[in-house]
């Protein structure tokens, strides 16, 4: 059972799945790099891992909307927008 506010559980689940998947793929990728096969698998694992916090934030946003906590859902949405703008800026510049 998760203690604290309801958004904790969903954020925890999202973080866990993304991090386990990313780390597992990266571990395979490291073995392949050591074997001289290539870096692609490691890069995929890195991508899976670093997307985890964003998935956690998305889970929090959905939970807050379902709870009709509009103030904090708005805060989560603003944070998601900041992250999205940053990604776009890095892509175009």
């Amino acid at each position: 059972m998760t203690a604290g506010p309801p958004e904790n559980r969903r954020a925890a689940v999202a973080l866990q799945y993304a991090s386990y998947a990313g780390v597992a793929v990266m571990a395979v990728g490291l073995v392949l790099i050591a074997a001289g096969v290539g870096e692609t698998v490691a890069l995929i694992g890195i991508g899976l891992l670093i997307i985890g916090p964003v998935l956690g934030l998305a889970a929090v946003l959905v939970t807050l909307i379902q709870e009709k906590d509009w103030k904090w859902a708005g805060t989560a949405a603003v944070l998601a927008a900041v992250l999205a703008v940053t990604m776009l800026l890095s892509y175009f510049f």
Partner: protein, 268 residues
């Protein structure tokens, strides 16, 4: 050598989980000094390791209710803006300057944590305060007052910029801000920081990732080790006294500052 890096990263993950840090204070010096990476490449790999530390420990702490996601999200808005600016600036700053900035931040934080009077003062309430829910270390869930919300958020902008420029998750700056300035208990501050640094590190890491500046073998080695270490660290954290945590934090901060000063001076 990659296996050695994984082992070192395990230690970084343990330290990160214990002190609300991402482990970057260990990853960056190790990658630059021991493995000879330039600071930009080390920062990129370190930030990915920070995401791993954050994800590994935050998931555990979240289930226990220790962090305040709402405080974290609020502070994280300004932190991420700072991180985005810092990531762009890092490409234009000299290696030695980045090491110097890093060392300066570590000295400051070590001093604050070592010599803050009696630790956290009791929350004062007031105009810039708010009420948030979290679970204490004794397992009690309840509402608590947090002071200086907006000014604390402003200070976190700098934490975000330094995070992206130096490859650390910003926890070394944010934990003292939350504990000493915003009057949040050290374990709650550390757990909240663990949650926040994942988002901060993501903002910096994604810039490096999209630009192709990530060295996959180093980043993956750091991340795998950090994740394992963070998982171990969350177990150890249950048995560490809060006052001792602050003392150990300052020792680590001063040690790392010394190493980075040597690096900035070209000695290491």
């Amino acid at each position: 050598m990659l296996f050695v890096l994984v082992l070192i990263a395990v230690g970084g993950g343990i330290v990160g989980a214990l002190f609300g840090l991402g482990g970057g204070i260990i990853f960056v010096p190790v990658l630059t000094i021991l493995f000879g990476l330039d600071v930009t490449a080390a920062s990129a790999a370190s930030l990915i390791g920070v995401v791993a530390t954050s994800s590994g420990s935050a998931a555990v702490y979240l289930k226990k209710g220790l962090p305040s996601i709402r405080v974290g999200m609020f502070l994280e808005i300004s932190t991420c803006i700072g991180a985005a600016v810092g990531a762009f600036m890092a490409a234009y700053l000299a290696d030695w300057l980045l090491c110097l900035i890093f060392a300066g931040v570590m000295i400051y934080n070590g001093y604050i944590m070592a010599f803050s009077p009696t630790g956290r003062s009791a929350p004062q309430g007031g105009k810039d305060s708010g009420r948030f829910t979290w679970t204490d270390t004794n397992g009690t869930t309840g509402e608590h007052t947090v002071d200086h919300l907006h000014s604390g958020a402003a200070m976190c902008t700098g934490a975000g910029a330094l995070s992206a420029m130096t490859g650390v998750g910003g926890g070394t700056i944010k934990v003292p801000i939350m504990n000493i300035y915003m009057h949040i208990p050290i374990k709650t501050a550390a757990a909240t920081s663990n949650y926040m640094i994942g988002l901060t590190a993501f903002t910096g890491a994604i810039v490096y990732f999209i630009r192709g500046q990530v060295l996959p073998e180093y980043a993956a080695a750091v991340a795998v080790g950090a994740f394992i270490g963070a998982t171990i660290g969350t177990v150890i954290n249950q048995h560490v006294n809060a006052r001792a945590q602050k003392r150990y934090f300052s020792v680590i901060a001063f040690l790392v500052a010394a190493l980075m000063l040597l690096r900035a001076g070209g000695i290491l």
